[in-house]
């Protein structure tokens, strides 16, 4: 494959739009993923993605774009999940499971009742090639909001996530921080639905972060590597999707998984070799 082949997709406007949204998702999801995996919030994030289905069904029925309706939907779901987890009496995992499955089921029921013309496969696994210019603007807007909040509140998110009691004693508004993180996580998920789809959004959230954690020693480095893996996975996944006519979400997920395997091998093979060489010196 020559350079002409690599540049070929750029001849098409729809591919440029796709590459931009893929890159934006490839940055914001793995950045938040570094917090998500260390706080064991993967299941919650998966529930957030699935809980969007009924809102998307209503939105499409009323004639709104997924991206437009997704923003208030994301905030609503984040607040609802946050509230239920805080006040649950059945255990956090169980509460998330109830929301997850019931909202997903409701989504299918609504799609059936409204008889809306949604391509379910696209919705579940992503159809990035159908991204419109308007969608690119919405995703870019979400990216700016999510990453700005992520960076501005980074130190507070880290303090609260590492030592929640210590953060409370220090006077941080931990309840606000908790909801704020859930909201930006939810916005990042909504912004990535067209890229990777409801089911596979989790893979872009956690796999690059998990891979990065295996080969880095500090939290900041793990975020940098996580974002790098995310961008590589999303862009190369898109290329695979373009050249081999594959669905975009699964292609990105597979590339992310290959990167994880590579990181795992590096952590198991290369690190011991370095340790051995150092001990010889």
């Amino acid at each position: 494959m020559g350079i002409e082949n690599l540049l070929e997709p750029f001849k098409y406007d729809f591919m440029i739009r796709s590459l931009i949204t893929a890159a934006l998702s490839g940055i914001m999801l793995p950045a938040l993923g570094s917090f998500t995996i260390n706080r064991n919030m993967g299941f919650m994030a998966d529930a957030m993605a699935h809980a969007t289905l009924p809102i998307i069904a209503v939105g499409v029925f009323l004639g709104f774009s997924i991206s437009v309706l997704g923003v208030p939907a994301a905030i609503l779901i984040a607040l609802l999940l946050g509230f239920i987890i805080k006040n649950t009496e059945v255990g956090e995992d169980t509460a998330i499971g109830i929301i997850f499955s019931s909202f997903f089921a409701l989504g299918f029921i609504l799609i059936s009742i409204f008889n809306v013309s949604i391509n379910l496969e696209d919705l579940l696994f992503g159809q990035i090639l159908a991204v419109s210019t308007f969608d690119v603007f919405i995703v870019f807007g979400l990216f700016i909001v999510v990453m700005s909040i992520f960076l501005i509140f980074f130190k507070q998110f880290l303090f609260y996530s590492f030592d929640p009691i210590g953060a409370k004693v220090r006077g941080l508004n931990v309840s606000f921080l908790n909801y704020l993180f859930l909201i930006i996580l939810s916005l990042a998920i909504i912004g990535s639905l067209q890229t990777v789809g409801i089911i596979l959004v989790l893979s872009m959230l956690i796999i690059p972060s998990a891979a990065a954690k295996l080969i880095t020693k500090t939290f900041v480095n793990s975020i940098i590597f996580s974002v790098a893996f995310g961008v590589v996975a999303s862009i190369s996944g898109l290329y695979l999707s373009y050249f081999f006519n594959l669905p975009s979400g699964p292609s990105m997920s597979i590339v992310a998984t290959l990167l994880f395997v590579l990181a795992f091998l590096i952590s198991k093979l290369v690190n011991p070799i370095f340790t051995y060489l150092n001990s010889e010196i």
Binding site: F162, G166, V169
Partner: protein, 269 residues
């Protein structure tokens, strides 16, 4: 006239120093259970106080009440004359190890920086606090570990990092919850030396501990808790047989070697 004003100010300062922390009939309730019942004591500025008692005796609950994490069902706590909610900047807190999320591979520098993180810390790239972080780590002898991952540190070193966090915060009062658990004997001595040096700087220090050996050598005062205040006062006087029995029930036999001034020796020599 000036003389009189100065004398009044001195008297006022003395009262403030003596009434640094006041717990007046403090009660904390979890559901139907009274976790703390009518706990009354007063700590003067610059004192080092051991908070002892059985598991579930209310040591952590007292710290939670002092930091405003749990509401009082009755009574009051005043820190330098302020309610706990208003005194958060004055208190540096060293948490129990099991309350930390160790999944996060944070560096020593990042943990100490948390002492400087408040609701207004909105610049992740700010380096202006670097000197404070380094000074705080120097005080606990861990400057050479500044870029190490906290997961790599020993139990004693971890406690020192969290103490450095309270120093960077500039707290007047240090609360250390189970400070010596998972810390070996040698490291405990190093830790006590560091805590003593901090005390010399005028800090008031409360340490919840299970270790009552040689307690009178290490602490100025002891607060004995078993949901209520069993005793409070001079470390060499309060741990009587009756108080031990009140705290630990039949288990106080475990501490039978301990009498005030006996230093854990049967002969008292």
């Amino acid at each position: 006239m000036t003389m009189m004003i100065m004398m009044t100010m001195k008297a006022k300062n003395k009262i403030q120093k003596e009434n640094f922390i006041i717990s007046d009939g403090c009660c904390v309730q979890y559901g139907d259970t009274l976790a703390l019942d009518n706990v009354t004591f007063k700590v003067s500025e610059g004192k080092m106080v051991a908070v002892v008692g059985p598991n579930g005796g209310g040591k952590s609950t007292l710290f939670n009440a002092m930091t405003g994490l749990v509401p009082l069902a009755n009574g009051s706590i005043k820190i330098k004359g302020l309610d706990p909610d208003k005194a958060k900047n004055l208190i540096g807190y060293v948490p129990q190890k099991n309350l930390i999320n160790w999944n996060f591979p944070v560096s020593v520098r990042q943990v100490v920086e948390m002492g400087l993180t408040n609701n207004n810390s909105l610049n992740p790239f700010s380096k202006k606090n670097n000197k404070i972080v380094m000074d705080s780590l120097s005080q606990v002898g861990l400057l050479d570990k500044i870029d190490d991952n906290v997961n790599k540190l020993s139990g004693g070193q971890l406690q020192r990092v969290f103490i450095a966090r309270t120093l960077s915060q500039g707290a007047d009062i240090l609360l250390l919850d189970e400070a010596f658990s998972a810390v070996d004997v040698g490291a405990q001595e190093d830790l006590m030396e560091i805590i003593n040096n901090i005390k010399l700087d005028g800090k008031t220090i409360l340490i919840a501990t299970h270790d009552i050996n040689n307690i009178e050598e290490k602490f100025d005062e002891v607060l004995c808790l078993n949901r209520h205040c069993c005793a409070y006062g001079d470390a060499s006087e309060v741990l009587t047989k009756e108080v031990m029995e009140e705290m630990y029930g039949s288990h106080n036999q475990m501490f039978k070697n301990h009498t005030p001034g006996n230093h854990g020796n049967n002969n008292g020599n």
